[in-house]
Symmetry: C2
Subunit: 200 residues, 2 copies
């Protein structure tokens, strides 16, 4: 069986930000590694009838408040970006391009992008902004720009999103552990128990 944990997330998902700051530690403590897979929630919601919590009049403000509270309890910096949700295509493409060369660096890039968006409330929508974050990690800006425009990278993001939908993903973050799906940053305690017990 594949011992890797698949971690599906969207850079525009605040609960993915929380998960991104915790899932590796949970995996490491249990002898597992994590396969990070950015996807686009837009097509996922379209395929599954879902919607961002932010789009509901009561659940929206609650979620914003819940995120601030969650960040406080997790000791993470937090600033709600405005506008929100954001267009996360550039960030996701950059991730896959870097990931092909160096998964560790791609993970650092993902955490930096998440931090810039939800820790500092700064935009990561444009290729410029993504380039800024990547440059700070010594990724070559011109190569990255070419990589983000590569048809293969563009297709990769589509394929990963399509595959996620096929596997039953309807929101983010979403984890697969030993073939078992877990939805939400608030199921990470269960992922941990699953790993510790080796199942149910």
């Amino acid at each position: 069986m594949n011992k890797t944990i698949d971690f599906y997330f969207d850079f525009s998902s605040p609960y993915s930000y929380f998960a991104a700051n915790k899932i590796d530690a949970i995996a490491d403590a249990n002898g597992r590694s994590v396969n990070w897979k950015p996807i686009l929630l837009g097509p996922v919601f379209k395929a599954t009838g879902g919607a961002s919590p932010i789009s509901f009049p009561q659940k929206g403000p609650y979620s914003v408040h819940d995120c601030a509270r969650m960040a406080r309890f997790m000791d993470l910096s937090w600033k709600m970006p405005d506008p929100f949700p954001i267009f996360s295509v550039a960030a996701a493409r950059a991730f896959y391009w870097v990931n092909d060369k160096d998964p560790d660096q791609a993970r650092l890039l993902a955490k930096s992008l998440f931090h810039r968006l939800f820790g500092e409330g700064q935009d990561i929508t444009s290729e410029e902004a993504v380039g800024d974050v990547a440059s700070a990690l010594h990724v070559d800006r011109d190569e990255l720009r070419a990589g983000m425009a590569d048809p293969e990278i563009k297709q990769r993001l589509k394929d990963e999103t399509a595959q996620a939908i096929e596997r039953g993903v309807f929101g983010a973050p979403y984890f697969f552990v030993d073939g078992e799906g877990f939805w939400g940053s608030d199921r990470m305690w269960m992922v941990k128990k699953w790993l510790q017990r080796g199942g149910w």
Copy 2:
């Protein structure tokens, strides 16, 4: 400030079942008491644009599976009722009627009703079924039947549901602690931390 925790739930909500089996212990350990308030999610969803997870093609089966898993991790018995969701008006009215006389007994009744529905997969829709569960707790069946038909009790359920909506409730379980709202059985760890820290 009101030191009581308001616990809004619907007897037809499996995550409310999980919360009902845990919230009193969390409150007790922190010197608080819990005010149990059954409501009807139908009007709540109508007012807030929400829907039961079960109504979505992917989230529905996931939720059913997640409930079975949650019950296993919480050491609670579990059997998914069919049909589901169920009509929880009789159960909620019975609760309020018993609660006016004896809140402890009402809580026992609530737990017994939840157990019958989600622990045994048996119906609690009819007044008959609710009467069966109540009788086992030595509630007089005839008095209960009259109580459930009392216009004041009927109105109480409507009022509590309307008040919940006014307070921002958009799903169940939903908790208010020191005026702070928490949605979902997966926020009980946060309720606990809130109580321990006296806030954020």
